[in-house]
Amino acid sequence: MRKSAWILGILLLHPHILKSQVIFENPLSPRNANYRMDVTLDVEKKQIQGHQVLTWTNLSRDLVQELQFHLYLNAFKNNRSTYFREKDGDTGILGEKEAWGWIDVNTLIVDGTDLTDRIEFIHPDDDNEDDQTVIRIPFARSIRPGQQIQVEMDYLAQLPYVYERNGYRKNFFFAAQWFPKIGVYIDGAWNCHQYHAHSEFFADYGVYEVSITLPREHVVGATGTLQHTNESGANKTLTYRAEDVHDFAWTSWPEFRVAKETYKDVDITILYDKDHASSVPRYMRAVEIDLDFFSQWVGEYPYPGITVVDPPTGCSGVSGMEYPTLITAGTFWSIPKGLRFPEVVIIHEFGHNWWYGMVGNNEFEEAWLDEGINTYTEIKIFNTYFDKDRSLIDIRGIRVGELDFNRAQYIGITRRDYSVKNAWSFIGKGARTFLYVKPALMLLTLENIIGQETMDRIMRTFFQRWKFRHPKTQDFIDIVNEIMGESYDWYFDQILKESYELDYQVASVCTKKVIKPMGYFDHEGERIVLPDSGERQRRRGIDYGLKDSQNRYLYESRVDIHRQGEVIIPVDVLIVFENGDSVRHVWDGRDRWVRYDFLRPTKLAYAAVDPDRKLLLDSNFANNSRTVKPQRKALNYLNTRFLYWFQTMLHLFGFFG
């Protein structure tokens, strides 16, 4: 046993053996954008000196005439970048601290030809000449379909002070969107968008082999698996390998504490600030929940590990972000258990390793596909693993469910925008509402309509068919149509592609005893005037229709249902009578209103549209039901509460008088 350990040690130290080990025997993805990088972190200057060799394969059928790269870090170069313009010039403390970030490509060689002087900045999304987040390199010759090229680059990246998603603070570093990254050649053109304030990213899959040199006291976390460590003097070089991923992020901080666990053959590593130690078991549990849920639902997590980075105090700008096999968390010291924000961040961000990581949609153009589906997943997980009505907040009588929390962000602005559009072209909180929440509610509503089992089949098929590929909206809809055996385009057209509102309302209910007939009636060839006196009625034997065969009084009841919004969707209508009888109808919702009339020996109690609350997109649940009798109890309770709160407020006002 000891001898074999020695031999293994010698083998591992031998330079030829120091090659990275293959993770997947069979590639999971096309691997057409593979990077080998050697980077050095200058902790004083907060800079990364990098050398990278990109091996890129033209997967298209086109002759490609140029290359395009993202230089995302230039978004932080000045306040005129598209990123900051979209943030209305709000640069936080970057300007004050002279802590801008940028990246310079100093050398660019394609298959041995130096093309550095051909680099030019382009602005495919706007005409902002000050934005330097995309470059193109035109060629004299073309890259043929299936041809592989090598692009060698030297670059210097200056990290900004922590602002959003990346940066440094003191000796903490978070490198994300930090290296020159090739765009995606798709649909006959380069898809290489600028860095936007409300957009995330898009890239091809590949293998990343990254060697990071930095001071040896730094604790490092990165995408992929650590292959080996070389220590030399005050520095060390860590080599990571990640396969079948489309991005690479890493972090370092000497004060990170490390917690490790293995669950379902996945190594979970948590790098955390000592002040957040109490959140570590919660992070761990949240990762395990995702691993459990996803593996049963759509598919296993194939990678050997996941790293959770809990940023130190003052670095919340990098919190709550997803990268392949690395996510960032968010918490604070002594956070109560009833506030499930650490869980929600982890469950969401780790969920992105399926929706974005493996199913690699274009987050610039169709972000709902990952954010919306991932939020849908997040709500499902919270409903499954926690008490639905208090899943997000359950503290001192304040209870908020994850679904309620999300729905609240939508119902006030239902008509403001639609979901299938570029992620940067929303205003206000529109991106959050229409990329995350509305699509999530749309999927939950669909699940309620078609049933969980069918919905699960849809999601599983979507994941399995499109993992390690770049699906579009129509690809998802096609799978729904395929599984359902009929077109559901009508559903997605209305909800995903239009700014329509869904709102059904019970407009009115009324019930009254059948009144005696009045006026002239022709009866057995004779014109009579009704109502008769009791005597004459008996004599004539006229049935006024006031009672049924069992001598019970009859009541005429009427229910009017309105469609207030534009969305047309079949909806259940429940009508309940005072004797407990009930009637259920399905209204197709095509007209603006529908009326139901009843003649029964009982009074109407209430009517409810969508009584099971299947249509979670409905913007107003309060008008989904209407009772004949006033509902005083809840009002009395609320008025009692509000009266007391107002008295308390007045007491405070008066106290200082």
């Binding site: 957040h276 010291w333 109890k633």
Partner: protein
């Protein structure tokens, strides 16, 4: 008299003036009902015939609250304005009543009469209003100290989150202490005004600072003893209040009664501040007053 005796006498004095207590409670209730009216109408519109109200009764009313806030919040600016306007009117009304309250407590040998109460309220209103404006200056100073402490504490705490949170609590504690201290000082300024019929309010305010600092131990003890009574009332209210759920009409009725009882007691506590502090003021200043009157007579 010991501080505890002063406190007990304060309670007795408050109970002796039950009519005044009811007047103040009634006024507060009327103001609150005025505020409730538009909100109640909106609630009635939303839930008056809706089954959604049952969620509230089942204790899962967050969806209702969120929907109400979102739907109603968009047109709630008149209500928010109303809260401010009514709040300010109530503040001015409180300033007005304080003269009446102190008039009753200072002349405790006479039986309560509404005529005397309102007469004193009107008599001291202008003076108390000026005192209130002076007190705002000190509240602003407290706010400045609060923000200054924030900067100092942040620099000491550095990146330590536990320290930051601890300092936040300390900072808030200091701020509340200052607010209560200012409140106490100006209570004595009002008492002094009524006792000595002072008219120069700036000078009175400064004299009340001197008075409090000269008798710091006893003034603080009396103040916090009464505050403790307020806290005790709140704890009892909170614990018992949990028993009255919204599931039955009786539960709602009991809740209403319980809340109103607490609101009534809370006003009693406020009266007890004045009553106890008046007794203390009298005890501490009476020998000087007597000596002063004697000197004056000779």
């Amino acid at each position: 008299m010991s501080v505890f005796d002063i406190f007990l006498n304060g309670i007795k004095k408050t109970i002796d003036n039950l009519r005044m207590w009811f007047i103040l409670f009634g006024v507060q209730l009327v103001f609150a009902i005025v505020l409730l009216r538009p909100l109640g109408d909106q609630l009635d519109k939303m839930l008056g015939h809706s089954l959604m109200g049952q969620d509230v009764l089942r204790g899962i009313g967050m969806q209702v609250f969120l929907e109400f806030i979102i739907d109603y919040g968009q047109s709630a600016s008149p209500e928010v304005k109303l809260i401010w306007i009514i709040g300010l009117i109530y503040l001015v009304t409180s300033i007005f009543f304080n003269g009446g309250i102190l008039g009753v407590f200072v002349q405790d040998d006479k039986e309560f009469s509404a005529h005397r109460f309102f007469g004193n309220a009107g008599r001291y209103f202008g003076r108390f209003l000026r005192l209130f404006l002076f007190s705002i200056l000190f509240i602003i100073a407290a706010l400045l100290i609060h923000s200054g402490l924030g900067a100092l504490f942040n620099s000491i705490a550095g990146d330590s989150e536990p320290l930051r949170i601890l300092f936040l609590l300390i900072k808030t504690g200091i701020f509340l202490f200052l607010l209560f201290f200012i409140n106490m000082i100006f209570d004595y300024a009002k008492i002094g005004t009524v006792f000595r019929d002072r008219k120069r309010m700036g000078k009175t305010a400064l004299q009340s600072w001197t008075f409090v600092f000269q008798n710091l131990g006893r003034t603080l003890k009396v103040y916090y003893l009464v505050a403790l009574l307020g806290l005790l009332c709140f704890v009892i209210y909170s614990l018992v209040g949990k028993l009255f759920g919204p599931s039955t009409s009786l539960g709602i009725l009991l809740l209403l009664i319980w809340q109103q009882m607490y609101a009534f007691c809370r006003i009693g506590v406020r009266l007890n501040f004045f009553a106890s502090q008046t007794i203390l003021y009298k005890e501490l200043t009476e020998p000087y007053l007597k000596a002063w009157f004697k000197e004056d007579a000779t």
